[in-house]
Symmetry: C2
Amino acid sequence: MAIVKNEKITSRDVDFAQWYTDIVKQAHLAHYTSIKGCLVFEPYAYAIWENMQKTLDKMFKETGHENVYMPMFIPESLLKKEAEHVEGFAPEAAWVTYGGQNQLEERLAIRPTSETLFCDYYSSIISSYRDLPKLYNQWCSVVRWEKSTRPFLRTREFLWQEGHTIHETAKEAEEETLKMLNIYKKFFEKYLAIPVLVGKKTEKEKFSGAEYTLSLEALMYNGVSLQSATSHYFGQKFSKPFDVKFVDRNNKLQYVYQTSWGCTSRMIGALIMVHGDDNGLVLPPKIAPKQVVIASIRNDENVLNSVNLIEKILKRANIRVQCDVSDKSAGFKFAEYEMKGVPVRIEVGPRDVANNQVVIARRDTGTKEIVRFEDIKKYVLSLLNSIQKNMYDKALKHANERTYTCTTLDQVREIMETKPGFIKAMWCGDVECETKMKEIRGMKSRCIPFEEEHISDTCIVCGKKAKNMVYWGIQY
Amino acid sequence: MAIVKNEKITSRDVDFAQWYTDIVKQAHLAHYTSIKGCLVFEPYAYAIWENMQKTLDKMFKETGHENVYMPMFIPESLLKKEAEHVEGFAPEAAWVTYGGQNQLEERLAIRPTSETLFCDYYSSIISSYRDLPKLYNQWCSVVRWEKSTRPFLRTREFLWQEGHTIHETAKEAEEETLKMLNIYKKFFEKYLAIPVLVGKKTEKEKFSGAEYTLSLEALMYNGVSLQSATSHYFGQKFSKPFDVKFVDRNNKLQYVYQTSWGCTSRMIGALIMVHGDDNGLVLPPKIAPKQVVIASIRNDENVLNSVNLIEKILKRANIRVQCDVSDKSAGFKFAEYEMKGVPVRIEVGPRDVANNQVVIARRDTGTKEIVRFEDIKKYVLSLLNSIQKNMYDKALKHANERTYTCTTLDQVREIMETKPGFIKAMWCGDVECETKMKEIRGMKSRCIPFEEEHISDTCIVCGKKAKNMVYWGIQY
């Protein structure tokens, strides 16, 4: 059964950017404040964030990481200790210059990221290889004074987690860098139902101060790619200027090897842009605040009793369920929960109750089925699984259809102007060629995959000998 | 069996302040940074905080509250909208004046508390009584540029939750104010094992901008009192300047009635100062990150097998358990987990295993018992309950012993100079008399209890007619 388009939002295919902001507003995800790029996370968005947090936090703890909390302030001198890092982050830092009535002797950046704070801490708690590794994580907000902003995708303050670890050897730290990338990959694919590319960022696109950066890249419905999580290997690039030393197994002083990795509230934006449709959000069951809504159609006593009974049965099966027995019209209720992307809707009306049945609608396809009362629990459990799987498969199909292999810039240009997506193309490794690609709708390299295909022998830009196969795309 | 004093920390009765900071350091709770009053919450302190969060968050959600996230920045003009509020908070705000390279047109305070942000949000989402109540909460950090600081108790940045609600009627908002105070009371008594006084703050001591403030007051081991949580009733004091209006049931425009309530990471300080002893922290089982540590004494295969087996049994009983099978000496291990205040220690040595038994030590009393292998689970479950109860009873006994009824300032002075605590005394209601009390070791009114006793007819300071019975104390 086809879903009728919700009139409150612009059509996704007509104006994707407007469609996106319409959903942010109509699904009550975020509210603008008077400060550009600073959002109120409304209860529904925050509940999605809490589910993301809970799942990731468990994965981090299971792999031996401990949560800590660092101060939000970084003295300017501390931020400046690693040269590339300060170059990358100082230009967009927010600066505190007054504490109460008094001008501060040294201005303080609000953390744009906390490598410098962690290094400062490490240097005072580490002395021997016996103290290693340290595997830390923190959940907090960070501030980057961006010029152009967009809800969830690019905001001046955003929520995130940042993992920070130090190790005895380069090998161990590199393994950690990859391990955490794979945890993000699993989280995206299994929980968010979003397929991702993984690989290494180019020198130009890596994190300021890293030896290298690994990243997760996801493709949105409109073919724009989103850097969705990153994992950085620092080697000793921070530990040297911050003097984070330990006595190793041979009784020699050594600098530690370091990583950091993070993902942010932009994942909420990814959920909207990968799965959403013309009726609003579509949430994967594993991350949806409510997996099932039971909506009454006319409220007689029998209907209310049935709603309560179904609620009890589903809650006992650990399903996150919500009831709506308000006197709003059925159409109004349906539209509201479609907008919010609740995966399953159970409709209970007087006639259904009389027939010992309910109507169950799935949000992802819009199809409905009549289900006998005694089968509800089993049906819903199976339906939630099948929705989760279907959403992933659909997103993967779309990403595959929008992943192109190119050998000329003309091909790239034509694709990016009609049906953009990921472009696989060869590259000589030269930053000038990388920059040249920006001329096509601001394209950037997304990543160099761990297993590169051989597409041709020559760089797509300059025609010289190719070094790598790169994924390219337009980015948020 | 008596506990031998840990040499790493000062004795509690010799120098309480030093004892406190020694524990903060030796139990690896917090680490100072180069910015005064900004701490690193180390993993152990953060794990305690997470347990507090989890418990309170559940209580908040069960009473219908939803989590949100507001930006950390408050434009100066917004902070200034309510006159008393700005007077209370602006002098200690940290101010952001630069975003990247550019000076901001208006400087931004980092939230010292978020009433103004919530009001700004309310004003754009509320239109009818049907939109009310709104019951929000957020977990975040706030900044107050304090002059003198002390780990957890008074820091420039601290972690907290702030609940913010709006209601249709004054009655409903006042009920909410009291309800949340009682939730805090339950949390302190049942989970933290800390008995508390509850009551109303005097006009002088209330929150800047509130109609009135209710508070929880706890007594530390040294007789100093700690304001431990507050719940504020605002009436329409914010809703008028912020123009938070709705159409009521009689179709008339009305301003909403508002509350806010909060508790902070200073609760970690309270745990230390109420329950700690000369061997370190003593944590109540309900909030301890690990409730049981299983420590091996010499690691032969039988010992290791037994440790694993006991761990499995206890985990299956939902007990938070940690094993230490390192080759550190038994004495070293015992001292370490005593310092961390782990409620129960199970000692497993070769002889114990041979005899099919273990030694179980409780942290709160230091007593040990031999327990047969097959009885461990039952014994530990019961022991955890009895420790939780004993800790509360002990703290209550101490608070009762240190609560005095006074009718003259000489009595107060003598008590506060020898064995300080809570003073119950009559007061005329005059702010001058309240201020006069500060001459005795900086004493302040703690609260006016909901049920006042009649101690005498006259104010303890001026001798005029008494209006209230007040609890007084020295404060952190």
